[in-house]
């Protein structure tokens, strides 16, 4: 802001040579904001407008549907299993990658990032190929009465896959930046490995960890494509909330569909607010760059 003020025209019509004219600025701002409104903001408002189209009473009626309630519980359950698994993996992977030098590190990093560049449908499908009725291990699982696909374990696996990189890729750059000197100091003062981790490393990365958990949780609860493939769409049994939205929508039950969607949109908004607060408040303690 002060930089703008310093380069602002002095006197009559001396335009600054290192910024655009006021007209060009206005045009760019209008173009950018218009595009954002058209593609991003209006859809968000539409979710709530459609959900409350027939009034507040009808909105809340949508949540009395036992299938929707079951979907909410299932979504919470799947996230409650998948997110902690990602935390454990993220901490282990970032400790190994950030604190040590070894061969094949960049290959490992590429593999961790891989789920981001795989289609969600393919993410779900690879577990169908392994554990589905005619998949590699399907007949064996069937003989032993274990069901993974079209059941909760499949939903958890697909969710873990799509949320795999979130925690690790927040922690790794930060821990690499922080180096190993504080841990070495703790060890030389007599702390053992676990104590060093709990009292030195973990407090140093706590905001980045929270940031990663937040994104991981939002994706876990909102995932659609991957869980759609492994779910089997059994009403009240294997439908997570996003899948329930699809079913209600395809049943032309639009108000109920948008009511269920409004819960997910609310979750997204809360995530966005906390994420922005973390970035403003603890930006330097999260990481130098935030993408995704």
């Amino acid at each position: 802001m002060s930089a703008e003020a310093a380069t602002a025209p002095v006197g009559r019509s001396l335009a600054s040579p290192t910024t655009e004219s006021a007209g060009a600025k206005l045009l760019l701002i209008v173009l950018g904001l218009g595009f954002l409104a058209l593609f991003l903001v209006i859809p968000l408002f539409a979710v709530f407008a459609e959900a409350f189209r027939n009034g507040v009473a009808v909105y809340f009626e949508a949540f009395e549907d036992p299938d929707t309630q079951a979907a909410i519980r299932l979504t919470l359950l799947v996230a409650a299993i998948a997110v902690p698994l990602n935390i454990v993996f993220g901490l282990a992977a970032s400790w190994a990658i950030a604190k040590f030098e070894f061969r094949g590190k960049s290959f490992m990093l590429t593999l961790i990032d891989l789920p981001f560049s795989v289609s969600p449908v393919v993410s779900g499908m690879c577990y169908v190929i392994l554990f589905g009725a005619s998949g590699y291990f399907g007949p064996w699982l069937d003989k032993h009465g274990i069901q993974i696909i079209f059941a909760v374990p499949g939903l958890v696996l697909a969710t873990v896959f799509v949320t795999f990189p979130f925690v690790a890729r927040e922690l790794i750059p930060l821990m690499q930046e922080q180096g190993t000197s504080e841990e070495e100091a703790a060890l030389s003062l007599g702390a053992n490995g676990w104590r060093t981790f709990w009292s030195v490393t973990l407090p140093n990365v706590r905001w980045a960890l929270l940031y990663g958990v937040l994104l991981s949780n939002a994706r876990a609860m909102g995932e659609f494509g991957a869980v759609s493939v492994v779910s089997g769409h059994l009403r009240g049994l294997t439908n997570t909330l996003p899948l329930q939205v699809e079913i209600l929508y395809n049943d032309y039950n639009f108000v109920a569909a948008f009511a269920a969607a409004s819960l997910l949109a609310g979750l997204g908004l809360v995530t966005l607010v906390i994420k922005s607060l973390l970035e403003w408040r603890y930006g330097g303690e999260i990481s130098s760059k935030h993408r995704k």
């Binding site: 595009f35 901490l91 449908v121 499908m125």
Partner: protein, 277 residues
């Protein structure tokens, strides 16, 4: 001996445990399942693979997915550049709010975005009613959804580069007599171009695999508005694992190639901007 060259000695404990666990988990969750898909597709034989890949309906879907993803990423590159520019260079009321709003597509579950876009771009929707042509349930609807999910990739790739951009270059350009548009086109744009390409590639890669936000607005008309991921789902529902894995492998190969390309582009970006920041 091999161990000594494998990793540099360190005073810190826990390498074996964390390294072993990370690889075990990577293998179980990522490598084995994806390997299974490729193995299944590989066991089909070349003839069957070509037969699946040249099925007109599959080909049409691949064309729709890749073609529209390119177009959507291109539009996002233009408007993502404008947004990144106004967010880093200009000050206007609500700038922080706008900055946070760019992440909406990351935060909003794809199914939610899908039904919302379908509702507003439908012929009787808020925006659809104003337009003289149909958007929802046509390829144009797919395009709208792909633009929605791709935008943040371009903006978030460009922002850090714009912040680090050396303003002295612009001042030098101005003192040498270049007008502002010339400086923008010949000094700033070439510096940003590698990052713009990376953002474009990321948006494109995401769009190719996107499913949730697309299927509600696409209409899913065979040969016209079916996307490649939908073909995979249909084949899986028919228990035709062979065809599903074949289509998926084609898409995975392209994803891999893109990831490689993105890494190369990033390296190129770093080299080019080595003198800045």
């Amino acid at each position: 001996m091999s161990r000594a060259t494998f990793r540099t000695p360190s005073a810190l404990p826990g390498f074996g445990l964390t390294f072993g666990f990370a690889w075990l988990w990577l293998t179980l969750i990522i490598l084995l399942p994806l390997g299974g898909v490729i193995l299944w597709a590989g066991s089909l034989g070349v003839e069957r693979l070509i037969q699946i890949a040249s099925d007109p309906r599959t080909l049409a879907a691949l064309k729709v997915s890749f073609g529209l993803s390119l177009l959507a990423a291109a539009l996002n590159a233009v408007f993502g550049l404008i947004l990144a520019w106004i967010l880093t260079r200009y000050d206007f009321p609500g700038r922080r709010l706008v900055d946070a709003a760019v992440d909406l597509p990351f935060a909003l579950p794809t199914a939610v975005a899908g039904i919302a876009l379908a509702a507003i771009y439908a012929p009787n929707g808020w925006i659809g009613a104003l337009l003289p042509f149909k958007v929802a349930y046509t390829p144009l609807g797919i395009f709208v959804a792909l633009v929605f999910i791709g935008l943040p990739f371009v903006v978030r790739t460009l922002q850090p580069v714009l912040i680090d951009l050396d303003r002295e270059l612009e001042e030098a350009s101005a003192t040498l007599g270049a007008r502002r548009p010339v400086t923008l086109a010949r000094v700033i744009l070439p510096t940003l171009f590698p990052a713009l390409l990376v953002g474009f590639a990321l948006a494109f890669a995401r769009a190719v695999g996107e499913y949730g936000s697309v299927i509600f607005i696409a209409g899913n008309v065979p040969y016209v508005s079916e996307i490649a991921p939908l073909i995979i789902i249909m084949k899986l529902e028919e228990f035709d694992y062979g065809a599903a894995t074949a289509v998926a492998t084609i898409m995975l190969l392209i994803s891999f190639a893109l990831l490689l390309l993105i890494n190369l582009l990033e390296a190129w970006t770093r080299r080019r901007l080595g003198h800045v920041s």
